[in-house]
């Protein structure tokens, strides 16, 4: 019987990670959907995670309040960061946000209050599958209602041609900043959830690789709609588990296998399926239609 409960526990944590990764993918999508590549979200996630952990250890706040704080804390940083940085051209925005993420990580490595590089452990598990998926549901609801709204149209237009959008009367700086802050809040709450799901926070969990993972989830899933990033997150999180047996039979260690599969899928998607996994049904349908005709 202990193996059964072990099995459930394993899958439970995997399903939890899928939910958290889906939130992270959506946090990157928040800025990608208006054409901005921001790679700051590992830093925002770290701020949210640490804020939540500190509040849990040092206060008696209910978990809902802790999660709210984990969303608001990074959002507060996102405003002064976003204002100067969102004016930069594409690749420079990416670099500036990478820089921010690294600065946060380095600051945490050097912060004695939270044990520096060792981080905080034994955080009580206050986040369960229900909480994670409830928050994911709320996030998805927001994105669903955003589509087709006045702000949603504004974001689409900024993505397509920001200069033209400005002459339509759209305050593009404000629109971009809103999504930047929203993405920061999402990443922060995902961090808070993860901290209370995996019992620990440490700076090494919020490195540049982390935000690259988030970007990969979003791109692999497809960034044309908000459905893509969660699908991508699920795919990329579950795939290594599915392939684990295969890897062992071929003699590949789990580490290299995971990386190899990750890289290969990412490359294949960008080159052959630029609108991500969610565009696959459309592609299949189009090919089928063409076959029927010709």
């Amino acid at each position: 019987m202990s193996t059964l409960s072990e099995l459930f526990l394993t899958y439970q944590s995997l399903i939890g990670f899928v939910g958290i990764d889906a939130l992270l993918a959506l946090s990157v999508y928040a800025t990608l959907c208006c054409g901005q590549l921001s790679l700051a979200n590992a830093g925002f996630m770290a701020i949210g995670a640490y804020a939540a952990a500190i509040l849990t250890f040092h206060t008696k706040l209910p978990f809902a309040a802790v999660l709210l704080a984990s969303a608001l804390a990074p959002a507060a940083f996102a405003v002064p960061l976003g204002l100067p940085v969102l004016r930069l051209r594409g690749v420079f925005l990416a670099i500036a946000t990478i820089g921010f993420g690294e600065v946060v990580r380095l600051a945490l490595v050097n912060w004695d209050f939270t044990n520096g590089a060792l981080g905080l452990v034994a955080i009580p598990q206050r986040a369960g599958l229900l909480t994670i998926y409830l928050i994911l549901g709320i996030a998805l609801f927001f994105f669903a209602r955003l589509r087709g709204s006045k702000l949603g149209y504004a974001l689409d237009s900024i993505r397509e041609d920001e200069t033209a959008a400005r002459t339509m009367g759209i305050n593009t700086t404000l629109a971009k900043l809103s999504m930047f802050v929203f993405g920061a809040a999402l990443a922060g709450v995902a961090g808070g959830l993860e901290a209370h799901f995996t019992f620990m926070v440490a700076p090494s969990g919020y490195s540049f690789s982390r935000v690259v993972d988030m970007l990969v989830y979003a791109v692999v899933g497809g960034v044309a709609t908000y459905v893509g990033p969660p699908v991508g997150a699920a795919f990329m999180t579950l795939l290594p588990e599915v392939l684990r047996g295969l890897g062992e039979s071929v003699g590949l260690g789990p580490g290299p296998l995971r990386l190899f599969v990750s890289g290969a899928i990412l490359l294949a998607v960008v080159l052959f399926l630029p609108n991500g996994i969610v565009s696959l049904p459309l592609l299949v349908a189009a090919v089928r239609m063409r076959r029927q005709r010709g």
């Binding site: 690749v91 690294e102 380095l106 200069t163 990969v216 290299p256 960008v270 080159l271």
Partner: protein
């Protein structure tokens, strides 16, 4: 103080060598090649295999590793960048495909060499300590600085005095105009990748020798510092990358000496932010970097 300066120049020469390849590709393609650090790493491992397993001397292994890295660069261009030519989203897509290939390269290294630190065998590079005024310099440090400088001089000569160099600069200026002039843009880009990756691989070997450690994730931290260097120097400017590489090396060493080692990496990012917010084009870069 003199000792710090020497250490700074030594560190800076490696940063400069790494950054020069980074900025060359950006100048030509307008894309950040995030696989540069993976070539940096694989080039070093290749040299390690030559020296450690095949007992080739470092003097022979280094040039071979450099050529190998250049070849990796051409492969990289073929699979990650060339298929995207002409696509509207090529900048973002190129960034992501370079991440993909970097991941693949890292996977290969991890499988072949494991996650732990590898080292060049003792005695790979004859080490002696020399006294220069009040400072101490090792022959290894001198060798690394010398090799870096030589490679950067060769690159400068190549860019300024050869036909290929002129073509590279033309494509960097405007690929469309270059094509109209009859330049084979794809071939020039492939050549740029060869050069860029060859230098990146060289930087990797020197780095592994300098710090006596090498692992599949060694490229990660250098990559981010490399970003700070090319931003400071000016994106696309080779002389800028050289200048900035040495500058950051010196800044880093002096920061550690006077503020402590915990600020070591942070200072590069402080420089990065300051440059982006005050003068985004860096020291020697072209203007027009903000959106309208």
């Amino acid at each position: 103080m003199g000792q710090q300066a020497i250490n700074g120049i030594f560190l800076g020469s490696i940063y400069a060598l790494f950054a020069v390849g980074y900025t060359l590709v950006f100048g030509v393609l307008d894309i950040i090649n995030l696989a540069h650090q993976a070539v940096f790493m694989l080039g070093a491992f290749f040299a390690l295999v030559l020296v450690g397993t095949l007992h080739v001397s470092i003097a022979v292994a280094l040039p071979i590793a450099v050529l190998f890295s250049g070849a990796l660069g051409i492969l990289l261009d073929r699979i990650a960048f060339r298929p995207l030519r002409g696509r509207a989203d090529s900048n973002l897509a190129g960034l992501i495909t370079s991440i993909a290939v970097a991941t693949l390269f890292e996977a290969i290294a991890l499988q072949l060499f494991g996650p732990d630190t590898s080292r060049f065998p003792f005695g790979t590079f004859p080490e002696r300590r020399l006294q220069v005024g009040a400072a101490v310099v090792s022959t290894l440090q001198l060798g690394i600085v010398a090799i870096s400088v030589v490679l950067m001089v060769i690159l400068t000569y190549l860019l300024r005095r050869t036909r290929l160099g002129r073509q590279i600069r033309a494509v960097a200026e405007s690929p469309r105009a270059a094509r109209i002039l009859g330049i084979d843009v794809d071939r020039v880009i492939a050549a740029s990748f060869f050069i860029s990756s060859a230098l990146g691989g060289a930087a990797g070997v020197l780095f592994a020798l300098a710090f006596n450690s090498l692992s599949p994730d060694v490229g990660r931290s250098v990559e981010l510092k490399g970003l700070a260097v090319i931003i400071l120097g000016g994106m696309g400017s080779v002389p800028g990358a050289v200048l900035a590489g040495f500058a950051i090396g010196l800044i880093e060493v002096f920061t550690v000496a006077y503020l402590g080692s915990s600020y070591r990496d942070a200072v590069s990012f402080a420089v990065l932010f300051s440059v982006l917010l005050i003068r985004p084009r860096g020291l020697l870069g072209r203007a027009a970097l903000r959106e309208a």
